[in-house]
Amino acid sequence: MVNALFTRSAVLFFLLLPFLFPRLECADISGVVDPPEQPRERRQAIRYGGVQPGAVEPKPEPPAVVYLLNDQTRNLPLQVNEPYELTQRGLQFFPPVLPIQVGSAVRFPNLDDTFHNVFSYSPAKTFDLGRYKQGEDPPRVVFEKPGIVQVFCEVHEHMRSTILVLETPYFTTTDTQGRFQLADVTPGNYTLVIWKSVRNQREVAIEVTGKEDLELDLSKGRDP
């Protein structure tokens, strides 16, 4: 109870911080990147073993993840204490890609009528949650190591999602048009990473001055 009160006070403090220190200038970064496309060479055979095709929701289009990295970002404190959620719904994972800051927790609620068994082989976080169903207390995993964690369901072989464990609080996902927005970025030099898949990521060096917001057009391979 005391812990919860402390946490809420801390959140309130940070929320009010910009108003408490108006002199400390931060900048917003907005921009647009090419939305991730399905790699053409990965042809797909329609195959859902053991499930009714109608019971499966369409696979959500994975957005691109945009995040900023430099030497300071890994020392920044955890921005979100609430656990993230990676839900299983309609025999699919939502969201298809989930960026989080190192140290964050993720819960894996099952909203389907059937069992799921979420697991990961990724060295950044290996886990196997076992089989559980709707209504059971959703398992919770804390990700302490940065890296890419590919998440699968042992029961439904087509289900997959990716958790990006990042050493930065500056990250976001693009919308369907590839637009993104990063708010309140401390001035400095950053590497802006556009992550689309394990095999497709792009890094761009940017400088945030803090005097003005940045508007970046990184679509079609353009540099800032």
């Binding site: 042809r43 055979a45 195959r47 990724s122 060295p123 369901c153 072989e157």
Partner: protein
Amino acid sequence: MIYLSYKVKLILAMVLLILVVTASSLFFSTQSVERYYGEFLEKQFQQLSQSFVQDQQNRIARFSQSLAEATSNPRLTAAFEIGYTDGYDRFYYDLSTQLQPLLQRSEYAGSRDAPFFRFIDYEQQYLEPPESADSYLGIPAPVPEPELKSILSPFSTEVDEPVEAKKGYLRLNTTEGMKLFETWVFPTFDGSGLFMGDLVFIQRWNPQSLHQEGSAVRSGIYFNNQFFGPQEEELEAGKVEAFLAENMSLQSRKRASVDLSMDSEDYTIFVTRLPTHAAFGNPFQVTLFSLQEEKRILSRIQQTLLTVSGVVLVIGLLFSLFFGQRLSRRILDLVAGTRAIQEGDFETRIQVRGNDEVSRLGESFNQMSQDLALKEKYRSVLEKVTDASVANQLTSGSIELGGEERTVTILFCDIRGFTPLSRSISAPEIVELLNEHMTGLTEVVHKYHGVVDKFVGDEIMVLFGAPKSFGNDAELAVRCGMEMLGARKTMNTRKAKPIEVGIGIATGTVVAGCMGSEDRLNYTVIGNCVNLAARLCGIAPPGQLYLDGDTAAQVEDIELAETQPIQLKGFTARVPVFTPKLQHPTVASRK
């Protein structure tokens, strides 16, 4: 010209015929056997290669199905997905675990020939198994990993290529030498149906896969100018390779014999391209059928044919000999018969055997010789009853019936004092005497070409110049008469009772011909001079010869003496009569 008897010709023809029949039977039976055996082998080969191809396709289909189940495991997918960043150790391990049941099913599991696998991901990156993989991958690669990588990488599924299993063969230079490996490339999908890449299976090719149970057929694979067979050493792969290298360019299938001296057997080689993916090159299924069986069948047929021919030849020769002998004996009989007839033996007959053309010929011959004998009999009778030359002319048909006018000389000769003589001796003695007398004088007549017209009692009538003239018929008649007198005189020297004859000769024109009734004819002459000759004979003293003036006029070389003309009975005028001065002219004086 070589003389070949009918028998020899028959035998030669028989032998020739049997040889021709045997040779053509051998030729055509060999042709047929070779053709049918070739078709039989062709069919067998087609079945063999079809069943081989079918078997391969079934295996691929079965394996693809099993593989789809094995690779849809989400843990395998997870292992694959992390491989790109974290290494493929786990993936290879999971893959080998998933494939374990499949690989265990292989008949070569656990052996040197056991299949092994590699993976090429969807970006056509060859996933080299980590070093630790040796512990669970089973058999080590037959060639170093970098070499394997460069060999296998080209077989991965291209972006624009249809996603389907590929089959082919590889030649790998192993530590044991060049070996043939079967290779399958299976496109693999992960749990969500995404193409993961190609799972490549490699297995040392086992020649037994082409072998049929209980079959003596040898099959192998010809690939990149190398032959991989069941008993490579035994089969002398080099010879097969040389043969194939020469003949491969052409059609996909061909029949030819190649001599493999190893076991000195002939083989028929069938070659067909194995249906493999183009990327793997062109492997050919090569099947060698031994022609031993064909040879065996052929030699059995040949033996049978030759035996039958031999037996037929012997039987044919015996028959030819038998019939030839029989026929030639019968023909020789006929030849002997004709010779006998030629020599005048008309009584000859040949033995007629059987009932065929030759026996009919024999019958005809006998009939002919019988007819000839009869004719000869008639002839000899005719010659006895008439003069031989008349008989001859009669039989040859040169005497015209009805008569002709001819100038002839007629000679009459009779015995003086025959009537008193006949009274003094017995009748048989008379006949004997007359026969001796007539025979002796007839010989003289014939000597001078005279024709005895008739005997009348003790009188002989002789014609000269009829039916045929021999030149100076009158002189011949006179000489004949003179010799007849001489002959009688000679005969008289041997007789107790001498006989004296008188001769009259006259010449004139007569009608000569066969005369008499329809049933019985006589060749004779009718004319005045006949009468004159008879009268002259009547008046001629014993041992004397009288001739008339016409005869005397024609005689040149004999000196004649003319007597007083004589009044003859039946003649109105006196008739001049001549007689030779020398009654007994020598034979030498005649021409």
